[in-house]
Each structure stands twice: as structure tokens, then as C-alpha cells.
């Protein structure tokens, strides 16, 4: 098989994950989609490693794995905390970081 076919699969998986991140409103689904994307990225690394016959691709996959694990643990902890405080998992409602601080308050008088 051509090296680009493996990469193409990785690309397709990545875009599918991206679509998931973009279209879903539930935080859990977004996290799941992020996992898909990370996995696709790992696939691309491994494919590259296989192409050159070098171990680096797989080493990178290990790092991605570790990162995914810690990301998921922190992310899910956040999900739980968010759910407790806001009683929702809808990302469109979790927009408290919106920039609407009243700058007028530091104006003259």
C-alpha cells in the first residue's frame, strides 16, 4: 500500500473527529471526538515511522497516548465540575468566558 493511503485514512479520521467537535453540543461528545482526532494524529505518526522504518513514529505515539490520557482525565474532571455548577453540558450555554467585562468602570469618574 502507498504511504499516502495510510495518511489518507488518518486524514479522514481526523476530519471526522473535527466534524464531531464542531457539530456536537454535548461536552462528552466533544471530548470523544477529540479522542478520535488524537488517535488519527497518532496513526499518522506511526505511518510515518513505518515509512522510514524508524522507531520515532511509535515513540511519538506513546507521547500522544500519555497526553491523551492526562487530557481526558482533566477534561472529564472538568466536565463533572461544570455539570455540578451549571447543571448542563451544553457548550453553547457554557460561555461565561465571553468578553463582556464592563470597561466603562475604569473610565474617568
Amino acid at each position: 500500500m502507498a504511504s499516502y493511503s495510510v495518511l489518507a485514512v488518518a486524514a479522514i479520521l481526523f476530519t471526522l473527529g473535527l466534524i464531531g467537535v464542531l457539530t456536537r453540543r454535548n461536552v462528552i461528545f466533544i471530548l470523544i471526538s477529540v479522542e478520535v482526532m488524537l488517535n488519527a494524529a497518532g496513526l499518522a505518526f506511526v505511518a510515518a515511522g513505518a515509512r522510514w522504518g524508524q522507531p520515532d513514529g511509535q515513540v511519538m505515539f506513546l507521547f500522544i497516548l500519555a497526553m491523551a490520557a492526562s487530557e481526558v482525565s482533566v477534561g472529564l474532571a472538568l466536565v463533572m465540575q461544570v455539570y455540578h455548577q451549571h447543571k448542563t453540558l451544553d457548550v453553547t450555554r457554557l460561555n461565561v468566558l465571553k468578553d463582556d467585562i464592563d470597561i466603562q468602570e475604569i473610565k474617568v469618574q
Binding site: E105, I106, K107, V108, Q109
Partner: protein
């Protein structure tokens, strides 16, 4: 080494105050007072040792101390003191003591942290006055800035956030330009001589391409004239002065502004002598504009502290004009002005603070006839407004007279224009007296005259301003050796 100790005492005293802040004990005040007083005593000792013996064999520097700090970048811990520094550091500790004293009752909230900031600002100012390494100078420049910002931000008046931001942004903008200039100087000197150093004495000999030199100098100049402040960079000053707590205003007016003047005298003139002469005409013009503009603004104000703040703009215009006259007489006048303005305007701010403590307002239209209630304070206020309008026998007269006398030799037109500042200063000073102390009595309730602590503060300031007016030669002699140096004066 003694210089380092003086700074360390202030820094350590500040930290100690902060550590004690939880307990909120009265010991905090005493520690702060003690720290400044020890420094004052140490400095008086230096004055007595070296003040007379400013002879040729000791060179210009009475005390010098140098040790490596970050040698790989050519940064050293180089501090030194000559007559100019001695006078300014003396002023710093003198006003610093009074600043601690006038915070005695005013500050109740988070006192430990307050005195920490106060002492660190003083330490920064002291450092600025003695640093001979440009990097160190910049370091201290920031050290004095940030605690001051906090002083305004936390203990200020109603509009303190706005004032604190404005103060910080203005001075920081200037400071960063200065940093760029310092770095430029550093690299140019390094490229020329092969040794990369921030040391002032080494950098003095740098030869710079004229087109570049002008820009480097402007970096320094802008930082210093913002601090001075020169019109049109003065806008941070009325806000910061009026919103700051009393001690903050005292330090701002009495000391922080002086770092600008000091910077010009110490760095701009010696490092860029020819180029400074090139811009002298403009600098004097802006100085004169400052004199008149500040006075006119002061005349219109109804906020007591804003009014006094604008008088600072006017007085510092004299400083700028005097420096760029390049005459020894004018330069001596500038040094006198630095001191006497620190004392007289500082005293006015202290008085404004006392009035605010009693009447809970800064609006002069709500005052009037306070003399009836507080004759002693009225007398002191009369003394300092008279000082501020340049009455002979008080220090400010010596300063302004020498500046104008010297400047006249350089540029009669500007001198005549600046002299009109004397008339304008009478206008705002007497208006201040009239609105606050004279006229029909107009106090909402009975107000007490000055207390013992306030009497000490005012007496110290009064005596010093009168002594400076009658015996200025003591100061003139100390600075004379530095000033007559050809670096500052074109003969």
C-alpha cells in the same frame, strides 16, 4: 557599601512590615519610621564626613561601591554618591520620614502592606539616585514605580483605579523607551570597544553616530520628561497626585518628579552633550510653556490637590528651562528648585491631606475661612503658598531667581516669558489661600487645629524651607563641585 546598606535597610524594613501585617500591630509604623530614620542618620553622618571635604583628591565621588551582579551581561552592582546624589538622597530620607509620619493616622487598612510599599518606593528612589550602572538604574526605576502604583491603587481616593492605571501607563511607556535606549547604548558601546557593559563611567566615552545618538537620547529624554513632567506629558500627574494618599502625593511631588530632573542631569547631558545642546532651544521652549500652562491650569482648578499638582507642572517647567540653559548659575538654581519644590509642594500636599482628613472633601468651593478655626495651620499654609510663589527668604526664591538669572544669559526671551510665571504663581497661590483659609468661615462642623504629630511635620518642613532661603550656600557648595564640571555646563 554604606549605600547598599541604606537601600537594604529600607527593603528589609518593608518586608518586616509586610510580615507583621497580619498582626496589625502599631509596631509596623515604628519599624517603618525607624528604618527611614536610621537611613537619615547614616546619611547625615556621610554628609558630615564628606560634605566639607569635597576636594579634588577624592574625585567627584564621595563613596563608590562596585561588585559584579550578572557579569555575563556586563551588569554590575555599581552605586556611588557625589554631591548631587547626596542632596537628593537627603531629600529622599527627609521626606520619607515625613511620609511615614503623615500616614500615621491616615492608614488603617492593610497597614503592613502599605508601609512595605512606602519603604520600597523610597528604596527604589534612593537606588535611582545612587545607581551608576544603567541596568541597575532601570531596575530601581521600576522598583520605585510598582509600589507607587499599588499605593495609589489600594489606598487612593475614589477615582484611584483610573489614576493608578494612568500613572503606570505613562511612566511605564517612558521607562520602556529608556530601556530601549539603554540597550542601544549597551550594544553600540560593546561593538565599539569589545566590552559589553552597562557601567555609566565606561559608557560616558561612547562615540555614537549622530543620527542614532539623537534617537537614543530621545528615548532617555522622553522617559525623564514624562516623569518631570513636561507639558504635554503631564496628564498623569494631576490624577495621580490628587487620588494618591497623602504620603503618596508627598513622595510623588517631592521625590518621584525629581528622578526625572536627576535623570536628565546625570544621564542625558553627560552622555549626549552635543545633541542635548541641539535640542536645548526646544527643551527650554517646552519648559517655558510648562511654567505658564501649569500656572494657568492651577488657577482654574477647584480640587485642592489637583491645583497643587498643576503648580508642580509649573515649577518643574523652571527646572527644564534651567537645565537646558547650560549655565552654572541656572544649574545650581535647578538643584535648589528640586529640593525646595520637594519641600514646599510636599508641604502643601501634606496640608491638603490634613484638610481632607478634617473636612472630608478636596473641593475648595466647600472650604473657606479655615483660618478662624486653624490659625496655626493657616500660618503654615501661608508660608508654603508664599514659598510656592517664590517669596524671597524662602528657598523657592533662591531657586527660581538663580534659574532665571542663569537662563537670562542663555536666552533672554524665554527668561522673560518664564518670569511671567512669577506673576501667574501669585495668581494661583493667593487664590488658593483665599478660597481655603480666608473669606467667611464655612466649615460644616468644628475642626481642630494641628496636633502634635502634625506640628512636627510642618515645623520640620517650615524650618527647612526658611533655612534654605537664608543659607542656601550650604547646598550650593555641596552640589557646586558636580555642577561646575564641564559635563553639565557650556561656558
Amino acid at each position: 557599601m554604606i549605600l547598599i546598606w541604606m537601600i537594604i535597610i529600607l527593603l528589609a524594613g518593608g518586608i518586616l512590615c509586610w510580615l507583621l501585617s497580619k498582626s496589625n500591630s502599631p509596631a509596623i509604623k515604628w519599624i517603618a519610621l525607624l528604618a527611614v530614620l536610621i537611613d537619615l542618620v547614616l546619611l547625615l553622618n556621610i554628609w558630615l564626613q564628606h560634605g566639607q571635604g569635597l576636594t579634588a583628591n577624592t574625585g567627584n565621588w564621595m563613596i563608590q561601591y562596585q561588585s559584579a551582579w550578572i557579569p555575563s551581561f556586563g551588569i554590575s552592582f555599581h552605586v556611588a554618591m557625589d554631591g548631587l546624589s547626596l542632596i537628593l538622597v537627603m531629600l529622599t530620607f527627609f521626606l520619607g520620614t515625613l511620609a511615614v509620619l503623615c500616614s500615621w493616622k491616615e492608614i488603617e487598612k492593610r497597614a503592613g502592606f502599605y508601609y512595605f510599599n512606602l519603604l520600597w518606593t523610597l528604596a527604589g528612589i534612593t537606588g535611582v539616585f545612587v545607581a551608576l550602572d544603567l541596568f541597575l538604574f532601570y531596575f530601581f526605576w521600576e522598583v520605585m514605580l510598582v509600589p507607587m502604583y499599588l499605593l495609589i491603587l489600594i489606598w487612593g481616593d475614589k477615582n484611584r483605579r483610573y489614576a493608578a492605571y494612568k500613572f503606570f501607563i505613562f511612566t511605564q511607556a517612558g521607562g520602556l523607551l529608556m530601556l530601549i535606549s539603554i540597550l542601544a547604548l549597551y550594544f553600540i558601546h560593546g561593538a565599539q570597544s569589545g566590552t559589553y557593559t552597562y557601567d555609566y563611567l565606561s559608557l560616558l566615552g561612547t562615540r555614537i553616530d549622530p543620527s542614532v545618538a539623537k534617537w537614543i537620547m530621545m528615548g532617555f529624554m522622553i522617559a525623564f520628561v514624562i516623569k518631570l513632567p513636561m507639558v504635554p506629558f503631564h496628564n498623569w500627574l494631576p490624577d495621580a497626585h490628587s487620588e494618591a494618599p497623602t504620603a503618596g502625593s508627598l513622595i510623588l511631588a517631592g521625590l518621584l518628579l525629581k528622578t526625572g530632573a536627576y535623570g536628565i542631569i546625570r544621564f542625558v547631558l553627560p552622555l549626549f552633550q552635543q545633541y542635548a545642546a541641539d535640542i536645548a532651544w526646544w527643551a527650554m521652549l517646552f519648559g517655558v510653556i510648562g511654567v505658564i500652562y501649569g500656572a494657568m491650569m492651577a488657577f482654574a482648578q477647584t480640587d485642592l490637590k489637583r491645583l497643587i499638582a498643576y503648580t508642580s507642572v509649573s515649577h518643574m517647567g523652571f527646572v527644564l528651562t534651567g537645565i537646558f540653559a547650560f549655565r552654572e548659575i541656572a544649574m545650581q538654581g535647578v538643584i535648589m528648585q528640586i529640593i525646595t519644590h520637594g519641600i514646599s509642594t510636599g508641604a502643601l500636599f501634606v496640608l491638603a491631606g490634613m484638610i481632607k482628613e478634617r473636612l472630608h472633601t478636596r473641593d475648595i468651593s466647600q472650604m473657606g475661612g479655615l483660618w478662624s478655626y486653624m490659625p496655626a495651620m493657616g500660618g503654615a499654609a501661608m508660608l508654603f503658598t508664599m514659598a510656592s510663589l517664590g517669596l524671597p527668604a524662602l528657598g523657592n526664591f533662591i531657586a527660581e531667581f538663580l534659574i532665571l538669572l542663569g537662563t537670562f544669559q542663555a536666552n533672554p526671551t524665554f527668561t522673560v516669558l518664564a518670569s511671567t510665571g512669577l506673576v501667574f504663581s501669585a495668581l494661583y497661590s493667593l487664590r488658593l489661600m483665599q478660597k481655603v483659609f480666608l473669606g467667611p468661615p464655612n466649615a460644616p462642623h468644628k475642626v481642630n487645629d494641628i496636633s502634635g504629630r502634625e506640628f512636627i511635620i510642618l515645623a520640620a518642613l517650615s524650618i527647612s524651607i526658611v533655612l534654605l532661603g537664608l543659607f542656601p550656600q550650604a547646598v550650593l557648595d555641596v552640589a557646586g563641585k558636580v555642577i561646575s564640571n564641564k559635563l553639565y555646563v557650556i561656558r
